[in-house]
C-alpha cells in the first residue's frame, strides 16, 4: 500500500500538469472577455488597450508558461520568504495578478478562506454528522416511520434547489421574524461572547441550507449501502455467534458499508474549497465560491486558473486518500 501511495503521488505531478494545461486552454477558448462588463460608453480602441495591458495580446503558450512560473516558483518563494524572513534574490518577482482587482491572487484566496471554512466547511461537517446516524437508523429500521420521514426530507432537501430554500429562509427569518441577518458580515471579528453570538446568528441560515443539502445526499448512500450489507451472510453468522446487535451494526455492517460513503465524502471535501456559489451569493458570504463565479463572469483568467488548479490538486489528493482508505476498510482490496 505504501509503494502504491508513493507511485500515485509521483504520477500526480504529470496528471496535474496536464490538467492545468487543459484548464488554461479551456479558459482561453471560452468566449467571455475581461472588458465584457464595462459600460458600452468605453470605446473599442480603449478596450483593445486594456486587453494589451493585461497581456492578452501575447501568444497562448507564453501566457501559460508565465503562469506556470508564477504559480510553481514565484508564489511558493514568496510564501517561504514571508514565513521565514529569508530573502531570495531581489524579491522582485512577478506574482499572479488578478485582472479585475489587479491584486495578487494568493492574497485574495487567503482573504476568502475564513468565511468559506466557517460556512461551507462547517455545513459539510454537520452534513456528515447528521447523515451517518440517520442513514444507519433508516437502513436498520427499513420502511419504519423514521425511515419514511428521513427519505422524504432528504429527497425534498436534495430536489429543492438552494436558490429557493435560501430566499425562503430569508423571507421567514430575516423579514418576518427578524432573527437572523440576511447579509453576512465578513469584517466581523470573533473576540468575545457577543461577537460569537453574532457570528453564529449570521452563519445559521447559510449553514442550515448547505447542511440540509449535503446531509440529504450522504444519507442516501449510507442507507443504501447499509441495506446491501445487512442481508449478507456474515451478518447472519455474526448474529448467530451471539455478537451484540449494536456491535453487529456499528462494527461489521457500518465498516463494510463505508466504501461508497468514503467515496462521496472524498468527492465532497474538495468542493468545500470551491465554495458554494449559489448559497454564498444569496447570503453574501463572499467566500471562495463567490470569488470564483465573479472571476468566471469577468473572464479573470489568472484568478480562475489558480483557483481551479488548487481545486484540482485537492481532488487528486482526496481521491488518493479515498483509495488508501478503501484498503484500510476492506483489506481484500489490493492495488499492487
Amino acid at each position: 500500500m505504501f509503494t502504491y501511495t508513493l507511485r500515485r503521488l509521483f504520477f500526480a505531478i504529470p496528471t496535474l500538469l496536464v490538467i492545468s494545461f487543459v484548464i488554461f486552454a479551456l479558459l482561453d477558448l471560452a468566449p467571455s472577455d475581461p472588458t465584457g462588463d464595462l459600460p458600452l460608453t468605453i470605446p473599442p480602441e480603449v478596450r483593445e488597450q486594456i486587453r494589451a495591458s493585461l497581456g492578452l495580446d501575447q501568444p497562448f503558450l507564453i501566457r501559460y508558461l508565465k503562469w506556470l512560473q508564477q504559480f510553481f516558483i514565484n508564489e511558493p518563494l514568496n510564501i517561504l520568504e514571508s514565513l521565514t524572513g529569508w530573502q531570495f534574490g531581489d524579491g522582485e518577482r512577478m506574482r499572479i495578478l488578478s485582472w479585475a482587482t489587479r491584486s495578487p491572487v494568493v492574497d485574495l484566496i487567503v482573504q476568502r478562506m475564513p468565511q468559506t471554512l466557517w460556512v461551507v466547511g462547517l455545513a459539510y461537517l454537520f452534513g456528515i454528522l447528521l447523515a451517518v446516524p440517520i442513514g444507519v437508523i433508516s437502513a436498520y429500521k427499513q420502511y419504519s416511520i423514521f425511515d419514511q420521514i428521513g427519505t422524504f426530507v432528504s429527497m425534498v432537501g436534495y430536489s429543492v434547489p438552494t436558490f429557493f430554500t435560501g430566499v425562503l429562509l430569508i423571507v421567514i427569518f430575516s423579514s418576518y421574524l427578524q432573527w437572523f441577518p440576511s447579509v453576512y458580515d465578513t469584517n466581523l471579528v470573533v473576540n468575545d461572547f457577543s461577537s460569537l453570538m453574532a457570528q453564529i446568528r449570521q452563519m445559521a441560515m447559510p449553514v442550515a441550507v448547505l447542511a440540509l443539502y449535503n446531509a440529504s445526499q450522504i444519507t442516501r448512500f449510507v442507507r443504501a449501502s447499509m441495506l446491501d450489507n445487512l442481508h449478507q451472510d456474515y451478518v447472519r453468522t455474526a448474529r448467530a455467534k451471539g455478537v451484540k446487535e449494536k456491535a453487529v451494526l456499528l462494527v461489521h455492517v457500518l465498516r463494510n458499508s463505508l466504501i461508497p460513503v468514503v467515496t462521496v465524502i472524498a468527492l465532497g471535501v474538495p468542493t468545500i474549497f470551491s465554495g458554494a456559489i449559489i448559497t454564498e451569493q444569496i447570503f453574501r458570504v463572499n467566500g471562495l465560491g463567490q470569488l470564483l463565479i465573479v472571476a468566471v463572469q469577468g473572464a479573470d483568467i489568472p484568478l480562475v486558473q489558480t483557483l481551479t488548479f488548487i481545486f484540482a490538486v485537492l481532488i487528486v489528493l482526496f481521491n488518493l486518500i479515498a483509495d488508501v482508505l478503501y484498503g484500510i476498510l476492506d483489506p481484500r482490496i489490493r492495488y499492487d
Binding site: A30, I315, I333
Partner: protein
C-alpha cells in the same frame, strides 16, 4: 450457486425472469406508489394540455400575478401566463431532460466505474480522466461547448431538438464522475470476494462476470446516483437557462419556473409551490421505484 444461474439462464425463457422481477416489484409497496405517482405525472404532462387548453406562453398582462382561480387553477405569473399550463409544458421538457441526462451520466459513470474497478490496467488512466473532469470549471466549459456546437446542432436538428441534445449532452458529460468513482469503489470491494474468484476459475467470460455478478452487486449505489441524478439534472437545466445557455426563455421548465418564481414568493406563493412540488414528487417517486427495482434485482432478496 453461480453455476446454477449460468446454466439456468439460457434454458428458461426471459419472460419468466422478467415476471419474477415484476412480482418482486409489486410486493414492494413504496415502489408501487412511486410507479403510480410517476405514471400520473407523466400522463398529466402529456395529456393535461388537451384538457387544460390554455397555451403556456400566451401572455395576458391584465391578468398578471393572480392567485389560483377557476380559470387559472395554479394562478398566473407576472406576465399573466397561466401557471398550470406552464407547469405541464415545463414538465415535458424537465422530465425528458432529467431522465435522458441522468441515463447518459449513469451509463458513462457505470461504464467508467466498472472498467476501472475491474480491469487494473485501465484504472489509472480512467481515474485520471475522472479527476480531470472533476476539476474542469463548469461554466467556461459550458460556454465553449455551446459556442462550438450550438449552431451546428441548430442547423441539423432545428432550434428545439438541437438545444435539447446539447443540454442533455452537457449535463451528462459533466455529471458522470461521481457515479464513476462510487461504482469503482464498490467494484473494487466486490471483485475480491469469493464468488467472483469462483466464477473466474470456472472459466466464465469477463463481460459475463461483469453483467451477471458485478453489476447486480453495485446496483444500490447506481440507483441512488440515478435518483439524485434526476434531481440535479432538472436543477442544472434551470441553471443553464439562467446563464443564457439553455432553452429559449419562452420555453418553461420546472427549474426555470422555480427560479423565476423565487422573488415572487410573498406575492404569489403558488408560483414556486407547484414547480417545487413537481420536482420533489418526481424525484421521490423515482427514488421509491429505484428501491423496488434494486430489491427485485437483488439475488439475496430473491432467495428469501
Amino acid at each position: 450457486m453461480t453455476d446454477v444461474t449460468i446454466n439456468a439462464a439460457p434454458a428458461s425463457p426471459a419472460r419468466s425472469a422478467m415476471g419474477d422481477m415484476w412480482r418482486q416489484f409489486r410486493a414492494h409497496k413504496g415502489g408501487v406508489v412511486g410507479l403510480v405517482v410517476f405514471t400520473f405525472i407523466v400522463v398529466a404532462v402529456y395529456v393535461g394540455p388537451f384538457i387544460h387548453t390554455v397555451a403556456p406562453n400566451a401572455i395576458n398582462i391584465r391578468d398578471k400575478n393572480q392567485w389560483p382561480s377557476l380559470a387559472h387553477p395554479f394562478g398566473t405569473d407576472n406576465l399573466g401566463k397561466d401557471m398550470l399550463a406552464q407547469v405541464l409544458a415545463g414538465g415535458r421538457i424537465s422530465l425528458a431532460v432529467g431522465i435522458t441526462a441522468m441515463l447518459l451520466a449513469l451509463f458513462l459513470g457505470t461504464l467508467v466505474g466498472v472498467l476501472s474497478g475491474y480491469i487494473r490496467r485501465l484504472d489509472g488512466p480512467l481515474m485520471r480522466v475522472t479527476d480531470l473532469f472533476l476539476a474542469l470549471p463548469l461554466l467556461p466549459l459550458l460556454l465553449v461547448i455551446i459556442m462550438l456546437f450550438r449552431d451546428t446542432l441548430r442547423a441539423a436538428f432545428g432550434p428545439e431538438t438541437g438545444i435539447f441534445i446539447l443540454i442533455v449532452f452537457v449535463i451528462g458529460i459533466t455529471s458522470w464522475m461521481h457515479t464513476a468513482r462510487i461504482v469503482r469503489g464498490d467494484v473494487l470491494a466486490v471483485k475480491s470476494q469469493e464468488f467472483i474468484v469462483a466464477a473466474k476459475s470456472s472459466g466464465m467470460r469477463e463481460y459475463r462476470i461483469i453483467i451477471r455478478h458485478i453489476l447486480p452487486n453495485v446496483m444500490s449505489s447506481i440507483m441512488v446516483s440515478a435518483t439524485l441524478g434526476i434531481a440535479s439534472a432538472i436543477i442544472t437545466e434551470s441553471a443553464l437557462s439562467f446563464l443564457g445557455l439553455g432553452f429559449p426563455s419562452d420555453f418553461p421548465t420546472w427549474g426555470r419556473l422555480l427560479f423565476d418564481g423565487a422573488n415572487f414568493l410573498q406575492l404569489t406563493p403558488s408560483r414556486v409551490l407547484w414547480p417545487g412540488l413537481a420536482i420533489s414528487l418526481t424525484v421521490l417517486s423515482v427514488n421509491y421505484m429505484g428501491d423496488a427495482i434494486r430489491d427485485a434485482l437483488d439475488p439475496r432478496t430473491l432467495k428469501r
